[in-house]
Amino acid sequence: MTTAAEHKSSGIGKDLVVYLCILALAAFQFVIAYQNIDASQMFVRMMIVAIVEAGLALLFFMHLWAENRGLLWFVVVFTVFVLLAMQYGWTDSFRLSGGVPWAK
């Protein structure tokens, strides 16, 4: 069924390399957790690593890279749009943590 012709023809080698990369990145997240850094910096570093991990899994484990480019853009654009749209409420979260300056 798949249009992922590369997936069919390539060997297990690429999957294994991607698997090892994801494992290494996951381990790196645990290393970051023990670094003596600010929580916001820790959050940013962990999210960058998680996004790279997710990208590898999406492109190579789920073979999105080898699919029709239209499908790739459809998935990426819609997902990223929804994820970004959800960041709308952060100002209110900081308002709550910062002593409710605008509610008075």
Binding site: M1, I22, M46, M47, F61, G89
Partner: protein, 206 residues
């Protein structure tokens, strides 16, 4: 507009000619489900982040990360075994495909058992949905709802792996069906990549 317009070359001809993105309907349906489920998990994680950021006495109860590290290793490895199963199925190796699919399901069961063990340990320390001994009661509801939603997905995936594996063996399902199920299983793995840092590692006791 006549029926002929719709089927032969009318204004909507471009919308009805062939599968969208040259992807079979079942596979496209799974991708649409994954996009929708991404929104579900993202909403949970963003709400959790919102609450955590706005709550001063947020607990950091995790002292030992061995269990979550082991769970991560098992889930990522299960993605590889899923790939091996699909590869075997595409090559026509039915017994190999079934073996790897069941190994993937077994990994999912081990993951779920480790998760439940962790939950029981936390409950034993006094953590419930609405209170805990370390800080705000919101922590329990956030932790159990996010990890519970993920655990539900893993459980559903394990059941689907067993059912689809057996039906593939009996000839009712094809290698393509295993591949579509594989998309779901990898998605569950991807979600865990975000749950671990946000819910566990950022709440590590220092």
């Amino acid at each position: 507009m006549s029926h002929a317009d719709l089927t032969i070359g009318g204004p909507t001809a471009g919308l009805t000619a062939g599968p969208a993105f040259s992807v079979p309907a079942k596979k496209l349906a799974m991708w649409l489900f994954i996009i929708a489920d991404t929104a579900t998990f993202a909403a949970c994680l963003v709400a959790y982040g919102f609450i955590r950021n706005a709550t001063p006495n947020w607990p950091r109860p995790f002292h030992n990360i061995t269990n979550v590290a082991l769970m991560t290793f098992i889930l990522v490895t299960s993605s590889l075994t899923m790939l091996l199963g699909i590869r075997a199925a595409k090559a026509g190796d039915k017994s190999g495909a079934l073996r790897w699919t069941f190994i993937t399901a077994a990994a999912g069961i081990i993951f779920a058992l480790l998760h439940i063990r962790e939950w029981l340990a936390l409950i034993g320390e006094g953590m419930t949905l609405f209170q805990n001994p370390w800080g705000t009661g919101l922590f329990g509801s956030a932790f159990f709802s996010i990890t519970g939603l993920h655990l539900t997905h893993v459980t559903a995936g394990v059941i689907a792996l067993i059912v689809v594996g057996i039906r593939y063996q009996r000839g009712r399902y094809k290698a393509d069906d295993l591949e579509i199920l594989g998309l779901y299983w990898h998605f569950v793995d991807i979600v865990w990549m975000f749950v671990v840092p946000l819910v566990y590692l950022l709440n590590l006791a220092h």
